[in-house]
């Protein structure tokens, strides 16, 4: 474990920026989001939740795969997807870091999504402990401990006041640490004591959060019974069918593939899609889910039943963004409670 003083942050960003593209939580017009760092940007490492999740860095909202052009009878294709530059994604919270693993489960199993794989391989993820979890946080319901490094992150850091403690977790993390060289200082016994105190304090805060008792395991019936439950009618009624929840969610990963039709040239691109939309998975015969109830049910069955059946882990990390963003205050916590038998 090493440490870096906060007054060296500017040096830290510049050093990282030499060998990598650097993505940081940047504040703009009062909202914090991960984006490519430029010198004049206002960095905000204190915001617990970025406005939308950082999944767009590993899984862009739109990504062109292919450009095509016809010239007479000749068709030329150009492969343009993927990520060529090495990058560092700095300041990812544990819940969001775990969401990357959940998306990996889908895209990195056979048949592997090569563009996604490339993007993941090029990235070094530096995660940060959550000093002040928010009232809408419920990561502990999914076994996430925001004071410790989750599996898969390359470096984990803790903010102990004037300095941050830095611990590489993987080979990629070691390489980054080595490259940054003498920006680091060795940690002292006092730092370690501070760290222990901090971990305890985070644990206490997490256990007293208002949603700490949310328990997805209470949804334990037969798949068919859950699917047919009357609860869906009641809780889906107010759903507007927008994609706010889907697009701020760190774990939603459904996409569509479409073409820009430019006549003699065009582009084939992948873009995020939402099961809440009426044209989602539309096929020649129409849409398989014709009512908002069915679409709403799909989103939560996927996160709480289907995905866990396939991967033995829930597809929610309890970041709570959907709680804050849903225009009608319907969200996964209400769904878990209702399906789990609460009145």
């Amino acid at each position: 474990m090493k440490k870096v003083a906060k007054n060296k942050f500017s040096q830290l960003w510049n050093s990282i920026n030499k060998d990598y593209e650097l993505f940081l939580p940047i504040e703009k017009d009062g909202k914090v989001n991960f984006s490519l760092w430029k010198d004049e940007d206002k960095i905000n490492l204190d915001a617990i939740k970025t406005n939308v999740s950082p999944k767009n860095i590993i899984f862009p909202q739109s990504e062109t795969y292919l450009k095509f052009k016809t010239d007479g009878k000749k068709l030329s294709l150009e492969n343009v997807g993927g990520k060529k530059e090495e990058y560092v994604l700095f300041g990812v919270r544990p819940c969001d870091a775990v969401s990357f693993n959940l998306i990996d489960n889908v895209f990195l199993r056979e048949p592997i999504d090569r563009f996604y794989e490339e993007r993941r391989n090029k990235g070094t993820v530096v995660s940060m402990a959550c000093l002040e979890p928010e009232e809408t946080c419920f990561c502990s319901s999914f076994g996430i401990e925001p004071e410790t490094a989750p599996k898969g992150v390359d470096v984990f850091t803790w903010d102990i006041g004037q300095t941050i403690l830095w611990e590489a977790q993987t080979e990629k993390g070691n390489i980054l640490t080595e490259k940054l060289g003498d920006i680091f200082e060795e940690v002292t016994e006092q730092d370690i004591n501070e760290l222990e105190k901090l971990k305890h304090s985070i644990k206490d805060k997490v256990s007293s959060l208002p949603l700490s008792d949310v328990d997805p395991k209470k949804i334990d019936g037969d798949l068919k019974d859950i699917f047919e439950s009357e609860v869906w009618d009641e809780i889906s009624k107010s759903c507007l069918g927008c994609g706010s929840c889907t697009y701020v969610c760190p774990t939603c990963h459904c996409y569509d593939i479409q073409d820009f039709d430019g006549g003699k040239c065009g582009e084939r691109f992948r873009c995020w899609d939402s099961c809440m939309f009426s044209d989602f998975t539309r096929m020649a015969h129409g849409n398989p889910r014709t009512s908002q109830k069915e679409r709403f049910r799909q989103r939560f069955m996927h996160k709480l039943v289907y995905y866990p059946n396939n991967h033995q882990v829930y597809a929610c990390v309890g970041c709570g963004r959907c709680i804050e963003k849903c225009p009608v205050n319907m969200n996964i916590v209400k769904v878990i409670k209702k399906l789990g038998g609460e009145k």
């Binding site: 017009d29 009062g30 909202k31 406005n51 939308v52 862009p60 909202q61 739109s62 009232e135 809408t136 208002p210 949603l211 009624k237 107010s238 507007l240 069918g241 927008c242 994609g243 706010s244 889907t246 697009y247 701020v248 569509d256 479409q258 820009f260 039709d261 691109f269 873009c271 995020w272 899609d273 939402s274 939309f277 009426s278 044209d279 539309r282 709680i323 963003k325 225009p327 009608v328 205050n329 319907m330 916590v333 209400k334």
Partner: protein, 326 residues
């Protein structure tokens, strides 16, 4: 329990027992102080889940389009802004007036949870009570009382219609709110004062934040098409790519499509997860309509012809009046 909640429940109970309605659209309270959410109830036993407080921000009138398809008679709780939207839906022939009973709720303004959070008052907050402009933040360690409108949504501070403009009965006495008419289009004037390049760059930056979630469209009471052109695959303008041209196309088409029908409820900006001030687009169009065709408020009087769909010989040529926006 707030007095108004008692009245709301009483009214709903009465409505079911007299057979006045088959369904009621109202609000229930969730886990959090700011969590007041729409519920639709169909019998007297559910009446006690209804509430009314300073977070009943949603406009329930748009739900009438869908709910009237499966229910004969519906009761709905509407604020002033919501009632304008109700009238507009009537004018757009999207609902039938005689199948709806409006319980009007005069409103002093709704509280913006973001503003509460910004002041750090959300920590350990259990409940927010409001009486006029006296606000009480209830925590387990005691209450904090604040006087004033600093926590109201921005849009509520500019509200012209705190009292419903159409209703069967009111849930409390009418309220009065002072609005500075001079400042009414200040936000638009700031943008109009920009050069064309500055304006383009301002809106390009705003639209580039869009995440294409459609929340603005789906919450909008003026967006009531059976199938939106952006959902119609056959139209060939599906809007799924996250590129500037499509972001801009979507928002400008939408602004023009609701022109003259937007009731200025500000819900588009409230629900935008990216924080785009979408209402300013509509606000600009309202200002232009007022300047070109005389004062007009969509939803105020459904019998009055809407300027953009009523042709008069003496109508001004907008390109003379406004020089095409230049």
């Amino acid at each position: 329990m707030e007095k108004i909640t008692v009245k709301v429940r009483e009214t709903a109970r009465q409505a079911f027992s007299s057979g006045e309605v088959d369904k009621i659209l109202g609000f229930a309270k969730g886990d959090f102080w700011q969590d007041s959410y729409p519920i639709f109830i169909t019998n007297e036993n559910e009446v006690d889940s209804l509430i009314w407080d300073s977070f009943c921000i949603n406009n329930l009138s748009k739900y009438l389009i869908k709910e009237l398809k499966n229910t004969q008679k519906i009761g709905v709780f509407l604020k002033g802004c919501d009632s304008l939207a109700f009238n507009q839906l009537l004018q757009d022939n999207r609902i039938e007036a005689d199948r709806v009973v409006i319980y009007g709720v005069p409103c002093v303004g709704m509280i913006d949870a973001e503003k509460v959070k910004k002041e750090g008052l959300n920590k350990g907050l259990l409940e927010v009570k409001r009486s006029g402009d006296e606000i009480s933040f209830v925590t387990k360690d005691g209450d904090k009382n604040v006087s004033g409108r600093q926590f109201d949504y921005d849009k509520c501070l500019e509200c012209n219609h705190p009292n419903p403009v159409v209703y069967k009965e009111l849930m409390r006495d009418e309220v009065s709110r002072e609005v500075n008419k001079e400042e009414r289009f200040k936000d638009v004037e700031e943008i109009e004062a920009m050069s064309a390049e500055e304006r383009f760059s301002y809106w390009s930056q705003q639209f580039s934040k869009c995440i294409r979630c459609n929340a603005c469209r789906n919450i909008c009471p003026a967006c009531s098409c059976e199938t939106c052109v952006f959902d119609n695959a056959a139209a060939g303008v599906s809007d799924k790519a996250k590129v500037d041209s499509e972001d801009q196309f979507f928002h400008i088409i939408r602004a023009y499509h609701v022109a003259g029908r937007c009731v200025n409820c500000g819900e588009c900006s409230r629900v935008c997860p990216a924080g785009i001030p979408l209402h300013k687009l509509n606000h600009k169009i309202i200002k232009d309509i007022n300047e070109l065709y005389g004062e007009y408020e969509a939803g105020l009087d459904p019998s009055k012809g809407a300027p953009l769909v009523t042709y008069k010989l003496e109508d001004i040529d907008p390109f003379e009046g406004h020089k095409g926006g230049k």
